[in-house]
Every structure is written in structure tokens, then in C-alpha cells.
Amino acid sequence: MGILYALVGRGSVVLAEFSGTTTNASAIARQILEKTPGNNDMHVSYSQDRYIFHVKRTDGLTVLCMADDTAGRRIPFAFLEDIHQKFVRTYGRAVHSAQPYGMNEEFSRILSQQMEYYSSDPNADRINRLKGEMSQVRNVMIENIDKVLDRGDRLELLVDKTANMQGNTFRFRKQARRFRSTVWWRNVKLTIALIVVLLVIVYVVLAFVCHGPALPSCF
């Protein structure tokens, strides 16, 4: 949840307050104001059931807030510091002579806004912002891991395909070499056949010219 109630007071006089829920925080806050005597600066926290009241007093001005125990201390006290600065910057010296609830109409809205901001926005705390950024980095890295794994799968497919291509090209080379041998032998056979035919023709012509198969007239 976060910060549920906030109050600004001087001594035991309440100057402004805002409550996010209907609880008895206002009564308890007044008791705390009355129980903390003196004007010296202090930081204290009181626990009440599941809620903790954080009190900060600086220069006689008291800022108080109620938060649940999961909010810790860093964010509530940062809230108190912020409210104190805004209050002093807005009203200045009028703080010391103001009437009870004199600033409630204007400042309760600011209290509400800041309660919302410090309860919901992670950027209110530097460590929380850093934690959020580290979470983003981790998420991005997990996405990168997934992408690299997909890339690995596709690379596996690619290596299989290239292995197949290598086998196919080896077979292609072997068949090309066999084809070249076949064509060469065929060419050799054709040459021999042509030579034989040529010799037969020459013999026939000579036999005709020499008047006999044994070629008697030429020898």
C-alpha cells in the first residue's frame, strides 16, 4: 500500500492533514504530537497494530505520516522531508503564527498528491528506481538469450542443409567425372568406327579398279 495519512503541525497545533482512508489515524497522530515535548529536531517511528507512525521535527515544525509496515522507513522519511520543504517554501514565516488548520484547505491537496507519488511511483526512491532498471536489464538479457537460442536452432538447420549440399556436390562431381569418361569413350568408339569404314571403302574401290578381290592387276 504505502502512506495512508499525513499531518503537519507546530508543537501540538495541527496546521494541515490529509487521510487516504477512514481510520483513527487522526486521533493517534494528535496523541503523538502531545506526547513529543520540546522543540529540538528528531526522527522517531511509533508502531500501532499493522501501521507505523513516522515523525520528523525540524526547526519547530513537525511532519507526521502513517504507513503500513511494508513501506519501510526510507520512503516515508523521504516523504516527510519533501513535505517539510514544500511547507516551509510555501508559507515561510507564517508557520509560527498560523491558526489551527490554517493551511489545511490548500496544503491537504499537496499532501494527497505527494502521498500518491511516494506510494505508487517507483521513481520516488533511487534504490527502487535502480532496482527497476536492473529488472529491465535482466528482462532484456533474457529476451536476448531466447533470440540467441532461436538463432542456434536455425544454425543447426543450416549446418544440416550445408552438409547435405556438400554431399550432393560431391556426388555431382563424381557423376560429372563419370559423364566425361562416358562421352570420351563414346568419341573414341566413333573415331575407330569411322577409320574402319574408311578402310573398307578404300579396299572396295581398289578391288574394283584392280579387277578382282585379290588385287591381281595392281601387284
Binding site: 526522527h43 522507513r73 536489464v137 552438409a163 560431391f170 555431382f172 560429372a176 559423364f179 566425361r180
Partner: protein
């Protein structure tokens, strides 16, 4: 410096201007001697030798030093003015500047010793039996003051201690919570580191696979090139075969012509 100036006195030819310089040098020397005596007297303050007569002697020495300083300062001023008016030579000006610097050094030394004397005169009183009851009386008064205001001081200290304890516990709680947050951030950074390492391993393994792919493709390219060479040779053989067919046709035609000629005749 002073001795050198005194020894160098008779050497320069113009004796008229040396008298003021020599007088200033002598004055500075006397001041140094008196300051040394004054320092010895100051060292005696606060010891068994500290007596009213000792204080009187200290006072007299201080007065004598002041008179000497006044006299030498006046002489030095007139000397500087005469140097500026007469437009003396450079070495003369240098000597006078040296005298002024020595005088200033001596004055600073005297001021230091005088300050030390003032401190010691305030801290200690002369050894005289008549002043003992006064100091013991003031001691009793201070003890009384402490007794009167002790409860208030104790209460104030207790409140301060309580406030400091509150501030310390508050700061410890804040520091604890901040430590918790920083520890979580550190844990997340560690996880990011692990993820980066895993990514590096994966990328390296895929590099090996890519190397295999590269070698497969290289082998395929080589085999394809050789196959292309073989096919080129086969194509060449086919062309030769076609040429032989044409030769065969030519021979057939020739034979046919010869037969026709023979039949005609």
C-alpha cells in the same frame, strides 16, 4: 651581514655616506644582542628563577630594545630618503636594501619573543609567598560553582544523550533498510552477470556451428568447381563427336560420287 658591513666600511672611497649606514648596522647589531638577552630572560619565566626582580629586568630589557628599534628605524628612514634623493649607485642601494631586510628580520624575531614573553607572563606568576591565599580562594569558588550547577548540567547531558540515542537508532534503521535495497540491487546485478555469461557460452557454441557451416560451404564450392570443369570437358567431347559425324557424311558423299562415276563409264 652586520659584521660584513662593518668590515667593508673603510673600503669604499666615499666616507661621507658610510657613516649613516654604519650607524644603522651597529644599531641592528645592538638590537640583536638585546633580543638574545631578552630571550634568555623569557626562558627563565615559569621556573624557580622567576622573581619580581627577574620580571623588572625583563621589563627594562624590553624598554631598551624598543628605544633601540625606534632609533634605528629613524636612521634607516633618513638613510633611505638620502639614497632616493642623492641617486646613489646600485651597490649602495643594494647594501641599504640589505640593511632594511636585516632590520625587518630582527623586528620579526623580537615580536616572536615578545609574544612568547606575554604568554608566559600571563600563564605563570612570580614565586612570592604573599599570593598563595588568593589562588586557593579562587579554587574554592570554582568548586562551589561546579557544585551548584552540577544537577542542571547532568540533566542537560542526559537529554542530549537521549536525543543522540534516538538519532543513532533512526540512522541505523535507515542504513539497514538502505543496505537491504543495495543488497537486492547487487543480487540483480549478479543475475545479469550470470545471464551475460550464459549468453557468451551460447554465442561461442554457435560460432563453432557457423565454422562447420563455413567449411561445408567451402567444400561444396570446391566440388562444384571441379564438377564444372568435368562438364566443360564433356561438352568439348560432344562437340568433337559432332564434327566426326560431319566428316562421316562427307566421306559418304565422296564414295557415292565415285560409284556414280564408275557406273557411268
Amino acid at each position: 651581514m652586520s659584521f660584513q658591513d662593518i668590515q667593508g666600511g673603510p673600503n669604499p672611497p666615499s666616507r661621507r655616506n658610510q657613516s649613516p649606514s654604519q650607524a644603522v648596522a651597529a644599531g641592528i647589531f645592538q638590537i640583536n644582542t638585546a633580543v638574545a638577552t631578552f630571550r634568555r630572560l623569557v626562558d627563565g619565566v615559569g621556573t624557580v628563577k622567576d622573581t619580581p626582580e627577574h620580571r623588572q629586568k625583563l621589563h627594562n630589557t624590553r624598554q631598551r630594545i624598543l628605544l633601540l628599534v625606534k632609533d634605528s628605524s629613524a636612521k634607516l628612514k633618513s638613510l633611505t630618503e638620502s639614497d632616493r634623493d642623492a641617486n646613489a649607485n646600485a651597490s649602495k642601494k643594494i647594501e641599504d636594501a640589505k640593511l632594511a631586510r636585516d632590520f625587518q628580520t630582527t623586528l620579526q624575531e623580537f615580536q616572536k619573543v615578545q609574544q612568547l614573553a606575554s604568554e608566559r607572563e600571563s600563564a605563570y606568576t612570580p614565586a612570592a609567598p604573599s599570593s598563595l591565599p588568593t589562588s586557593s580562594g579562587s579554587g574554592e569558588e570554582s568548586v562551589g560553582i561546579d557544585v551548584e550547577s552540577q544537577p542542571f548540567i547532568r540533566e542537560h547531558k542526559r537529554q542530549e544523550i537521549l536525543l543522540l540515542d534516538n538519532e543513532i537508532s533512526f540512522n541505523e534503521a535507515m542504513i539497514e533498510e538502505r543496505e537491504q535495497g543495495i543488497r537486492e540491487v547487487e543480487e540483480q546485478i549478479g543475475q545479469a552477470n550470470e545471464i551475460f555469461k550464459d549468453l557468451a557460452v551460447l554465442v561461442h557454441d554457435q560460432g563453432v556451428v557457423i565454422d562447420d557451416i563455413h567449411s561445408n560451404i567451402d567444400a561444396s564450392a570446391g566440388a562444384t568447381t571441379q564438377a564444372r570443369v568435368q562438364l566443360a570437358k564433356a561438352s568439348k567431347s560432344v562437340k568433337s563427336k559432332t564434327s566426326w559425324c560431319w566428316w562421316l557424311l562427307a566421306i559418304f558423299v565422296v564414295v557415292l560420287v565415285i560409284l556414280l562415276v564408275v557406273l557411268i563409264f
